[in-house]
């Protein structure tokens, strides 16, 4: 392998590693859900409390956006600000992937 090939391979690996950092880890999301979200939204996202939304089967990009907005303060809610504030970008991706992969309790309705 020439040096330039090695450099190229190295660059490719770095790029993959960088993108992989935000790939969602569903089991990690499940663990975090058990710790942070379960009490209100339910472990599978079928929230038993009318004030708290059902999130099982919701779109992952919507869930991630909601969490990012709670964390940044763009969306204001005293309860969610506290929880979302503790989450990393990776946690948010993991949780969004985990809840969206649960049996749907919300659906598109015309």
């Amino acid at each position: 392998m020439t040096t330039s090939m090695k450099t190229f391979a190295c660059a490719l690996l770095t790029m993959f590693a960088a993108t992989a950092a935000l790939a969602a880890d569903v089991p990690a999301g499940a663990a975090k859900a058990k710790e942070v979200c379960q009490a209100c939204h339910g472990l599978y996202g079928n929230s038993p409390t009318p004030d708290y939304p059902k999130i099982g089967g919701q779109y992952p990009d919507y869930l991630a956006k909601a969490l990012r907005d709670y964390k940044s303060g763009a969306r204001k809610n005293a309860i969610m600000a506290g929880f979302a504030g503790t989450l990393s970008k990776q946690d948010i991706e993991n949780l969004a992937a985990y809840y969206s992969s649960q049996p749907p309790v919300v659906a598109t309705k015309h």
């Binding site: 708290y52 089967g57 779109y59 990009d61 204001k76 749907p104 919300v106 598109t108 309705k109």
Partner: protein
Amino acid sequence: MTWSRNATYCTESPPMLKQTLLAAALAVTAAMPAFALAQTAAPAGDAAAGGKKNQMCTGCHGIVGWRTAYPEVYKVPKIGGQHAAYIVKALQEYKSGERSHPSMRAIATSLSEQDMADLAAYYSAGAAMTASK
């Protein structure tokens, strides 16, 4: 009648009138939070009526996988089967501006409390889960 009794006080002595007015003012002030609460309590929703008011919702929430493009790209949430109380709260927050999304703000602003309750009743009643993919 309360008013005639107050009127009697009025003829008796000015200090008594002052006391009566003060008491009345205090009573009104004390009653205000309860009144405010009664006003914000959501009216009962009528799902059938909600189904006739949802033309503004279906263009996005009625299409599987529909994405909102502004100000950020993401899929609009599925709302069939969502809790009615949460839907009403979301609409109220969009209307007040507490929750920001240009289209939702414009739409929610046009809705009365009754409209919100009716839409929430309609959507919370669920949807065919086959349409959830």
